[in-house]
């Protein structure tokens, strides 16, 4: 893979919106053209080069292209939004909407991500090595159609309402998650390695696995049995799990919630 590197200069207090940081946009462009790409700063348009130092050489095929942000982009929103192929590596944090509506390729964030990471994702892979804020793999505000495919991995903790209206794909939060993960979930798999309170509210389908503690199990979940060494499609989970169906506050419910049984 060939690299084009963006080294953050001094970052503005107002957030940048840079959906142009996408291998398909960079591909086939010379450095000068990439430097001149327009990004949004508040209500004004600025050049990418105003806030990032661009280096590398022209790459024609986006499949072969890795964009490396060599530093913290915690004030840049919409990195890799709608991305279909190639790779983005961020050696720091990112702001909201990283990988939103992405359909393919891979994004790795070594730091923390703000809210709405992987919103309405369709395919590809998003890895956040730090923590993520709220709404990981959620739907757009007001929409009833959330993440449809692909995988999101958060190695740290995540905030509230992850996988809201999820319709497919997989979210793996290795740390703990905030309340209402899997809200309105319809399909797919959410795994929380740590603790998660009030999971699965109004879920109608799909599976949620919580390996840590769960405070406040919602009243719409009914205990169905226990399972040893759980298997959900290609994923397996060691240990003993309590199996609940829910959320019975909804009609026609096929949702499953697995809670690791304390030893």
């Amino acid at each position: 893979m060939k690299e084009i590197t963006l080294r953050p200069k001094e970052q503005p207090k107002v957030r940048l919106e840079a959906e142009v940081i996408n291998p398909a946009v960079f591909a086939g462009k010379g450095l000068k053209e990439i430097e001149g790409l327009q990004i949004q700063l508040g209500n004004t348009r600025v050049r990418l080069a105003d806030f990032f130092e661009v280096s590398g050489a022209r790459v024609d095929d986006p499949k072969d292209l890795r964009i490396v942000i060599d530093g913290d982009a915690g004030h840049t929103k919409r990195i890799g939004e709608g991305m279909a192929t190639g790779e983005i590596l961020v050696r720091g944090g990112v702001d909201m909407y990283v990988g939103a509506r992405m359909t393919g390729g891979r994004i790795i964030v070594e730091g923390d991500a703000d809210s709405f990471a992987g919103q309405q994702m369709v395919g590809g892979e998003l890895v956040i090595k730090g923590n993520a804020k709220d709404y990981v793999g959620s739907s757009y505000r007001g929409d009833w159609r959330g993440m449809r495919g692909g995988t999101i991995t958060v190695e740290g903790n995540a905030g509230c309402e992850n996988g809201e209206f999820m319709m497919g794909g997989k979210i793996h939060i290795k740390g703990s998650a905030g309340p209402f993960t899997g809200l309105h979930m319809k399909k797919g798999l959410i795994v929380v390695g740590g603790n998660a309170p009030r999971v699965g509210a109004q879920m109608q389908g799909g599976s949620i696995v919580v390996a840590g503690k769960m405070e406040k199990l919602l009243p719409g979940f009914w205990l169905e049995g226990e399972e040893e060494n759980l298997k959900i499609e290609a994923d397996s989970f060691e240990g003993r799990y309590l199996r609940y169906s829910g959320d019975h506050a909804e009609g026609n419910v096929k949702g499953l919630l697995y809670l690791k049984k304390p030893i």
Partner: protein, 568 residues
């Protein structure tokens, strides 16, 4: 300030122009025979299609529920975004574009007059504030009268004059242009969790039937000499087998005389009222039976209410209908009660070409247009946003003008269209003259005296013109994508004698006028009715009477139409 549009190929149905080469002269905002001004701006429109500015008769672009739709669906904003330019404001929204953007989008299509069909009287101030924010076109709003307690009471007592005096007060108070009637009685019944499911189903607590309300308001309308007839969304919209109700409705105006050379009943979004069958499995089009009745009647006009196969937001003052719709779709919805007056609802809807019902509805809309023999009786609408957004009109025009395009789409929609509609058997292709009729001349004619100044290019007409980059003499209707593209981007839109759009882009922002009806009422009668109004406001309304009317200062370019009322 004057303007000459030189050498255009003119289609002006009211004046019998079907593609004649003619120069159009505009001075002081009006079409004139000859210019006095020698320094007129001259625009060469050789070999381009010239039509009067478009007239929109039914599009929900302002009013309480339009904003409710915007609040209910933030996700709709993501689908169409217009950034700010040095001239125009930014805007967003596909099914519910923001107000300013609505004006720009209409103007880019060559429309110069847009009427919004459902203003709850209690929300008239809001409606006019919203209309104020829609630039580029002349505007007007129809006041909702379907669930109004005063009207029920007077009609029940058989006092048409008092009812007319009340309606006159209501139109002046709300600055309304026409009377809109939505699911008469049903919206009131909805307050009790019920509906009126036939024209003879009495309204709870009022002992009056939808048929009586429609007939009564029709008489009131003509007695007041309002420019438009009643604008009726009849009972059972969107229900299976509702064509029976529609056929019954069409018979109501028998014998009623119009105050002008126009219909006495405008039956709106007919597509939603031509449903046959009793389950969604045997759902079928009854457009042929309904339109046969329409063709027979001189005193009825309709608009189509086409479905464009998009994801949209439905919104009507028909609260029970929206409840029914969300019970099918299970999507989010809002119901709103406007005290004493009406009860609208809003819910998103996805018209998918994979669904048989949506596909049949798409076909019904086109059948209605293709089966109506006299194009002066039918107007092009999508009941925006209910059947689809208004900026899809160019696509509907292309479907109407090209059988080939319809065949292509028929191959892409659900196969139910083949057996459950007669669209595949219809060969008719609209001519440019007929397109000009259903988008300009006919909607203007539906407004009686307004047709003197709107929807044509004869001397005395408003200087509202649209020019498209189509050469009618070298024109192939089978280039349907080109038809759609060219009608989407007017080469020029002229509003009041000023060029406001060039090559599909806004070049000047203008603020249109607001038209409203002001029917005179004799003083004694007005005083008597005012007593009832004062009493009811004290007793039932949550607002003070003094705070109810819309001051004229709210309106941009207030243009009252003083009518020849029979109770003056």
């Amino acid at each position: 300030m004057s303007l000459i549009l030189k050498n255009g190929i003119v289609y002006d149905p009211r004046n019998g122009m079907k593609g004649e080469k003619k120069d159009i002269f505009i001075e002081n905002g009006k079409v004139v025979e000859k210019l006095r001004d020698r320094k007129a701006q001259v625009i060469d429109v050789s070999n381009k299609l010239v039509m009067p500015g478009g007239v929109e008769i039914h599009s929900h672009i302002a009013g309480g529920k339009v904003n409710v739709g915007r609040m209910l669906r933030p996700e709709d904003r993501l689908k169409l975004i217009m950034p700010r330019t040095p001239l125009t404001r930014s805007g967003a929204g596909f099914a519910n574009p923001t107000a300013f953007m609505t004006g720009y989008l209409y103007s880019k299509m060559g429309y110069t007059t847009t009427f919004t069909p459902a203003m709850p009287p209690l929300m008239a101030k809001h409606t006019h504030e919203e209309l104020h924010d829609i630039p580029m076109t002349d505007k007007g709003a129809y006041a909702l009268t379907d669930g109004n307690w005063f009207i029920y009471k007077y009609l029940k007592e058989g006092d048409i004059d008092k009812c007319a005096a009340y309606v006159a007060w209501l139109l002046k108070a709300t600055r309304g242009l026409a009377i809109k009637v939505v699911n008469p009685g049903g919206t009131e019944a909805w307050g009790w969790g019920k509906n009126c499911t036939s024209l003879d189903d009495p309204v709870p607590n009022f002992d009056i039937t939808p048929r009586e309300i429609i007939r009564g308001l029709m008489e009131v309308n003509e007695r007041l000499g309002l420019p438009h007839s009643i604008h009726l969304h009849t009972t059972n919209l969107g229900r299976l087998g509702n064509y029976v109700t529609t056929l019954e409705t069409l018979k109501i105006p028998n014998g009623t005389k119009a105050a002008f050379d126009r219909q006495v009943m405008h039956l709106t979004h007919l597509q939603f009222h031509c449903f046959g069958g009793d389950t969604w499995k045997n759902f079928e089009s009854k457009a042929d039976e309904v339109v046969k009745e329409v063709n027979k009647r001189e005193n009825v006009a309709i608009d189509s209410g086409n479905v464009t196969l998009d994801e949209t937001t439905t919104m009507t003052a028909d609260g029970p209908m929206e409840y029914y719709l969300q019970s099918l779709s299970h999507l989010k919805w809002v119901n709103k009660n406007v005290e004493m007056e009406t009860a609208p609802g809003v819910t998103p809807f996805i018209y998918s070409n994979k669904m048989s019902s949506s596909s049949i509805q798409w076909a019904i809309g086109l059948e209605v247009e293709l089966l109506v023999k006299d194009p002066w009786k039918i107007m092009l609408t999508t009941d925006h946003p209910n059947g689809g957004p208004f900026f899809r009109y160019p696509r509907i025009i292309a479907w109407l003008m090209s059988r080939k395009y319809r065949e292509k789409t028929m191959a892409e929609v659900h196969k139910a269209v083949q057996d459950h509609t007669i669209l595949p058997t219809l060969d008719r292709e609209y001519t440019l003259d007929e397109i000009a009729t259903i988008t300009r001349a006919a909607p203007a004619r539906a407004f009686g005296p307004l047709a003197e100044t709107k929807g044509h290019l004869g001397v005395g007409a408003d200087g509202d013109v649209s020019v498209y980059d189509i050469d009618p003499r070298a024109f192939n209707p089978n280039d349907y994508l080109e038809i759609e593209e060219r009608f989407s981007k007017a080469a020029y839109t002229v509003k009041g004698g000023e060029v406001v759009v060039k090559d599909g882009e806004i070049v000047k922002v203008v603020q249109g006028r607001t038209l409203w009806s002001s029917p005179p009422v004799n003083e004694a009668l007005a005083r008597e009715v005012m007593k009832d109004i004062e009493y009811s406001f004290k007793r039932y309304y949550s607002v003070n009477l003094a705070n109810y009317p819309v001051a004229e200062g709210y309106l941009s370019g207030s243009t009252p139409i003083v009518t020849k009322s029979k109770i003056a």
